[in-house]
């Protein structure tokens, strides 16, 4: 009985105006909450999750586009400028979503386990870090000993060009890695890619002599950003100033710019991934993943297709690397550790290997968990610890709570637990991959 009510409820949500209404209510509620409580994590979660109700509810494509654009181009910029931390979270989600989508091509589509994926991200980041900073003129100096007042090699606007150059350079690096490991399968491949990831990090760490290319562990800074035109700041202030309540500084405008750029890159990446997946190339990748021997017997050139997977996956990471270098204006080898590769891999697995919406959701969940939920919880606990509050019944004073129990310290533990639970209860991820259903036309020869 209760099941049929649930089902009827579900049916209702899928038909007529209900899905539209639900999405609008969700977006509206989220917007209002964030607008009223600009510091609340919970309010932000309500808003950001509305993106997924927009995806999940069965609504018209045009409605989705309009609502998505409204959310991405109006609501998020306005509330993001009011609390720049939100914009930062969304930027990080986009960066990791792009990385996860790239790794998804290698691991999810082609089935090649890559444990050193973050290397390509490093290649992109260091590419712009070198050409977009004074590093070229620092080459002969040991880290820290360069004279001040060195010029920049390229103007900041070359950044846009380097977004494209990074695609090519990262793709070539992907091919470079791919060539020696093509004969390997499974665990062997994983070990070699792991090694490659470490090689890139160690190179970044040590290429400060004989020529100081990467400035060693100190990293490269300052890295230039593209110029921010005066009129952009002015017109944004003119348009949204009243809504935001205070004039927006150029620094905040940069956050906005990088958010919009990341959004643009993500859109392009999703498009490219979709189109590749649904073509000869994507089918070849999936065939290789499913059965290499059968794939090659069907005439699929294994070498070329695996290299293509490595190259495409790497290029996504390369672009995001450039974006990261410019937005942070600082890059050091620390950002490209093995744990980062594992983090991206777990986003892919958590979200659903091979599933485009899945890995984006995976990236969002993991990033929010890391940046907001766990940190928020950690903050809350430390507040409790400083208070006089006592847990009733067991008479436990919060201030006696060991600092070892700080959630920031067992982030990875919680994360591991979540992954284990996922693998037991939803092994195919939050949104499992689905093959495209074709509108199969009736066969003309089958007129029985």
């Amino acid at each position: 009985m209760s099941e049929s009510i649930a089902k009827r409820f579900q049916d209702k949500l899928d038909h007529g105006v209900w899905p539209y209404l639900s999405v609008l209510v969700h977006i509206g509620l989220g917007t209002a909450l964030v607008y009223i409580y600009p510091r609340s994590n919970l309010a932000f979660l309500v808003l950001i999750s509305s993106l997924f109700s927009l995806y999940a509810f069965k609504t018209d494509r045009r409605f989705q586009l309009v609502a998505g654009a409204l959310l991405a181009l109006l609501i998020i910029p306005v509330i993001g400028v009011r609390n720049i931390f939100y914009l930062e979270v969304i930027f990080q989600i986009s960066v990791f979503a792009a990385l996860a989508l790239g790794l998804n091509i290698v691991v999810g589509f082609a089935g090649l386990l890559d444990l050193g994926y973050v290397a390509f991200y490093a290649v992109g980041a260091y590419l712009w870090a070198f050409f977009g900073s004074q590093q070229y003129y620092v080459l002969p100096f040991a880290p820290g000993s360069q004279p001040s007042g060195l010029p920049f090699l390229l103007p900041g606007d070359a950044f846009y060009l380097f977004l494209f150059i990074a695609i090519i350079v990262a793709a070539l690096t992907g091919i470079l890695l791919g060539l020696p490991v093509l004969r390997l399968r499974g665990d062997y491949l994983a070990i070699v890619t792991l090694g490659f990831g470490e090689v890139i990090r160690v190179l970044a760490n040590n290429l400060d002599k004989p020529l100081n290319i990467t400035n060693g562990p100190q990293g490269i800074t300052p890295i230039q950003r593209p110029t921010m035109p005066e009129w952009a700041v002015d017109s944004f202030n003119g348009l949204f100033g009243p809504l935001i309540g205070h004039p927006v500084s150029p620094a905040d405008m940069y956050n906005l710019l990088f958010y919009l750029l990341a959004l643009l890159v993500i859109m392009v990446i999703i498009r490219v991934t979709r189109r590749l997946d649904d073509s000869k190339i994507g089918r070849a990748w999936t065939a290789i993943r499913e059965d290499e021997t059968a794939a090659i017997a069907m005439g699929i050139p294994l070498v070329r297709m695996k290299l293509a997977a490595f190259a495409v996956g790497a290029s996504f990471a390369g672009v995001m690397g450039v974006l990261l270098a410019a937005s942070r204006t600082f890059i050091s080898p620390e950002s490209f550790s093995f744990m980062q590769s594992i983090g991206v891999l777990s986003m892919v697995i958590l979200g659903g290997t091979g599933s485009i919406p899945g890995v984006i959701l995976g990236a969002a969940v993991v990033t929010i968990l890391n940046l907001q939920v766990l940190q928020g919880f950690s903050l809350y606990l430390s507040e409790l610890r400083q208070s006089e509050a006592i847990i009733p019944l067991i008479n436990f004073a919060w201030k006696d709570l060991s600092t070892q129990l700080d959630p920031a310290k067992y982030q990875r533990l919680l994360f591991g637990l979540i992954l284990i639970l996922m693998m037991i209860f939803r092994p195919k991820g939050l949104i499992p991959a689905q093959r495209r259903r074709r509108r199969l036309v009736a066969d003309p020869t089958a007129n029985k």
Partner: protein, 264 residues
């Protein structure tokens, strides 16, 4: 001229010679069977023909061209398509997609066509989808195009594997135990499907099979292998009467017994 010929092909693994000096010619348009006891080297021969193994010695010529040194995908592109003894479909892909993968070597879409969704790409995709549906109908699998291949029943999987092989529009089709695990009726249907493929599409068929009803019923020529060597060759009638074949299958005593019976 022979469509396929092997000259003195040898393939060994460590101390085991899996194929020993096999000479063999395949006329175009024929249905030919390879039979032999388990471990006789039949599947190894298939793997050598399709490039999964490189022969240690000897020559393999297909359609006037040497296959030595070619990769399996290049050999597939030359026009040899195969099925596997233990079905090897792409389980997580839909039935239609399995067939589309079979068409891989004929699809001309370039990365630019794909990324920009140019009209050529769309046309090629629609055309190949139509062809795939026609192939599904041809092997008797209507209406399952959207199913995942792994969800099909066993017999349907065998048929799908044949459809996938046909999608490559081969000149030569290698079938590795296509009737294994099938009941008599399914076997009957399979046999007639093979005849159709040869008669209507003009594809030469080379099959490995243990089911003697199938072999004797369909083959125009039979090649018998034992311990990696070709021990006999001929029409079904000749093979049935060949003493070495009976010996290979049933042991020396059987032949002796037969002789005694004949003497009596």
């Amino acid at each position: 001229m022979a469509l396929l010929e092997t000259i003195n092909v040898v393939k060994s693994f460590g101390g085991l010679t899996a194929i020993n000096r096999v000479n063999f010619e395949l006329e175009p348009g024929k249905i030919v069977s390879i039979i032999g006891p388990n471990g006789a080297g039949k599947t190894t021969l298939f793997n050598t023909l399709t490039g999964i193994y490189q022969p240690d010695q000897g020559q393999i010529n297909f359609n006037g061209r040497s296959l030595l040194g070619l990769r399996p995908d290049q050999i597939a592109a030359c026009g040899i398509s195969r099925t596997f003894q233990n079905i090897r479909l792409f389980g997580e892909m839909s039935v239609i997609e399995n067939i589309l993968v079979g068409m891989h070597v004929h699809l001309r879409q370039s990365p630019v066509d794909i990324l920009l969704r140019l009209p050529f790409f769309k046309r090629e995709e629609t055309d190949s989808e139509h062809n795939a549906l026609a192939l599904l109908h041809y092997v008797g699998l209507d209406g399952v195009g959207d199913e995942l291949a792994k969800n099909l029943p066993y017999g349907a999987q065998r048929r799908l594997e044949i459809a996938r092989a046909l999608a490559a529009e081969p000149k030569l089709l290698l079938l590795d135990e296509p009737a294994a695990g099938m009941n008599p009726q399914e076997t009957e249907e399979m046999t007639s499907l093979f005849r159709h493929i040869r008669d209507e599409k003009g594809i030469t068929i080379l099959l490995i099979e243990h089911d003697m009803r199938v072999v004797m019923n369909i083959s125009e020529h039979i090649c018998v292998m034992d311990y990696g060597e070709k021990i006999a060759e001929g029409t079904p009638a000749e093979i049935r009467a060949d003493a070495r074949v009976i010996e290979a299958y049933l042991g020396r005593g059987a032949v002796a017994g037969q002789h005694e019976e004949q003497l009596q």
